[in-house]
Amino acid sequence: MKSKQNGGADSAAQTDRSLIDQLSEALAADALPFPLFPLRPRVSGLYTTPALVLQPPLPHPIPQPLPVPFPPFPPIPQPQPGPDPVPFAQAGNADALDGEIAPIFPLSMREELRLDVDGNFPQHVASGVIRSGLAQRANWIARVTRVSSYRYRGAIFYKEGSVGLIPQTDVEIQVLNPLTAGTRQARVTFSGSGPSRTRDFRYRSSYFHSVEFEFDCAEGTEAITNFQTHSHPNRPAGLANENLTINTVFRRAGFDVSRSGGDGVVPISGAGANARWSDSEMHDAMQTYWSRFANRAQWSMWTFFASLHEQGTSLGGIMFDDIGPNHRQGTSIFEDAFIKNPPSGDPAPAAWVQRMRFWTAVHEMGHAFNLAHSWQKSLGTPWIPLANEPEARSFMNYPYGVSGGQAAFFADFAFRFSDPELLFMRHAPERFVRMGDAAWFDHHGFRNADPALQPNFRLTIRANREPAVLEFLEPCVVELSLTNISDEVQLISEDVLRDTNNILLIIQKDGKPTRQYVPYARPCFRESTIALNPNQTRSDSIFIGAGVNGWDLAEPGRYTVRALIRIDDEDVISNPLVIRVQAPAGMEEEQFASEFLNPEVGRALAFDGTRFFSHANDTLERAVEQFPTRRVATHAAIALAAPKLRTYKLLTIGEGETAMTSAADAGGRIRTIKPDVAAAMPYVELALANPRLAADTLGGIDARYYRETIGAAIEREGDQETADRVRGVLDQRQVASSATPTMEESKGASSAVIRKKIGVTS
């Protein structure tokens, strides 16, 4: 059981901050009880606009905005020269550059401004985020210089996302009412290309982002979260004497740090019999003991203090969380590793050890912000042109890796991150930095694949139509085909294409980090092996519209999807499938998206309907009523029809129970709902009456599956004529248009059992 040792973490976090920090924050917030002058209040921090309604609904179709010419990126000045600086990832504007009609129904435009011109380690940068409607977002960064009192000007050197939202090339920022935080504003004028635009922002915080930490300890281990900076004599001459905390380090990096209040103790039994921790054991502990654990991106992280990693004393700490779809949520520090051994003859060995443990903790937490080691900046996917900094006095450098070793490092170490690191943490697109968002270090989903030199299989991924262009809100179904390309019979699992435990699906939107599709449920099949003859193909479909990760293919733009299946020791990698998601057809559809793209609707579609999520059913009904000619209506109709055609068992529990108890004790009962063919038929007609549309959007395999299973369900209710009509509705016209090999072709199975979807009973 987790021990709640630190229920007062928030108050503790307040009291451990240095006087300098408290003073500077109070200064920024005008919270001092004495006159400020001649001190100059700092104005750096976060500013936001209220949502701005730009224009009334526009007629459809909307003319496409012209692509915006984009100036080349100048290099960012680097404090340390380094080899091979990586050029900017010209992620660009997938929406505007790929010929797609951009979603330009700017119901509202919300903006953020991060002004970074004073305070701790100023980067002399302004950055911003522009959000328009549901689908468009642009990030920009400008280097600025002070041109007069509280007035800053500079050129935008970085744009990312829907850059059509910001055609301008320069910004000028005037801080209004700088002396009082409560009324402080920033007036930003964008100019230089396209029409000038001016917006007013209200001051929100002296920090750029908020972040939350939780510190847990393995049983018998102490969390090292502070260091008395003058406790060791080897230090910079000008280093302030203070009790420096981890919270303060990150506050100075620009983050409004809070604590979850869930700090506690993890039983050592979690480390297994050897009492050392493996990555998977720590990941399990994180899921169990971190009070904020969730399968989603959030500005929150878990830091775990333990004795040793299973690799032994040579590993001082690790950001272990490159597991699953949400990386960088957890880090660990191993206090009995090499970091507890001071150099022989050190004048203050206890302080040396405390400093190394403190450095290690911040270092690992820095990885959770997606910071690479100082000497690895140019590797991986470039998020911003960081050069290697092998001599940097940064938390992200190894003290014993610089010239002169750890003594030289600490003699000049100011307990901070480097300027390029601060630029990244404060101003890079949020998803590159936020925990659980962009994958650790790079965005290449198949970096760890192990394809065979002489493969036995070919894996093909395809949509059921060419080109694969999805309408806005249309759930995505892909079809996988596995072909034996060897000269010999290959034995494979019968469920090789259904077993999502063994299928890795990677989705990458242009210019965005790679995401892994994670289904809502994982099946458990009885192992059954079949033979796949040379040149024989086996096919099946996968719904990837929504999963635990959310709606990965919802935003308009261009996506690349790849699949990987492991068969014995061979990784079989598919072709890349390019899918384009169109812009909303109108404002009504764009508005409806906020209602439709939610987890309950996602689950209803993935499981072919629900009787439980009544709100999801209401939303699906609206999809059918409002957009009957759009492809989303086909999927919604299937999800509404299927539960009505089977005997549905629903667990109901009385209201008012709060304590955890059994369903029986809570008054739960299983209610059986009988099939209602009449209620289902309007939806069946809508989904299947147009065979080409049904096969186009459901896929050839799924269209046949629904025809069979729905027909069988109607037949069970005694309506043979209707059953025959449903079964036959696709027979003559549509199926032939699908190039996908049928499962009958591949295994000669009975057509009565074409495919079993998870959650569907027949």
Partner: protein, 98 residues
């Protein structure tokens, strides 16, 4: 009992690595460098006091390469692949990874 640590660092991309101490195989695994700790894998081998012969064999589809070093108990053998060529250093045990 004293140990010798063997740390496999940069440049590994799925190679099979076999570690021997005085001719005895003590470690065998396919390894890949993880950027967040700048290492692929590590092992600690209990040894008697004195100097020992440590061999590291790196096997790829193109063949295998072996590199050897003498190390005293308590020391760390650090192996990296630089442009496919194995390099070895005998390091102070303080120089670990994080």
């Amino acid at each position: 009992m004293a140990t010798i640590s063997v740390v496999l660092k940069h440049g590994f991309a799925g190679e099979n690595v076999v570690v021997t101490v005085d001719g005895r195989e003590v470690f065998q695994r396919q390894v890949r460098t993880r950027m967040q700790i700048d290492r692929a894998d590590a092992c600690e081998i209990p040894v008697d006091a004195g100097t020992h012969r440590v061999g590291v064999r790196i096997e790829t589809a193109d063949g295998s390469r072996t590199i050897e070093a003498n190390a005293e108990a308590g020391r760390m053998i650090v192996v990296s692949l630089v442009d496919g060529v194995p390099q070895v250093n005998v390091a102070d045990e303080n120089a670990g990874d994080a």
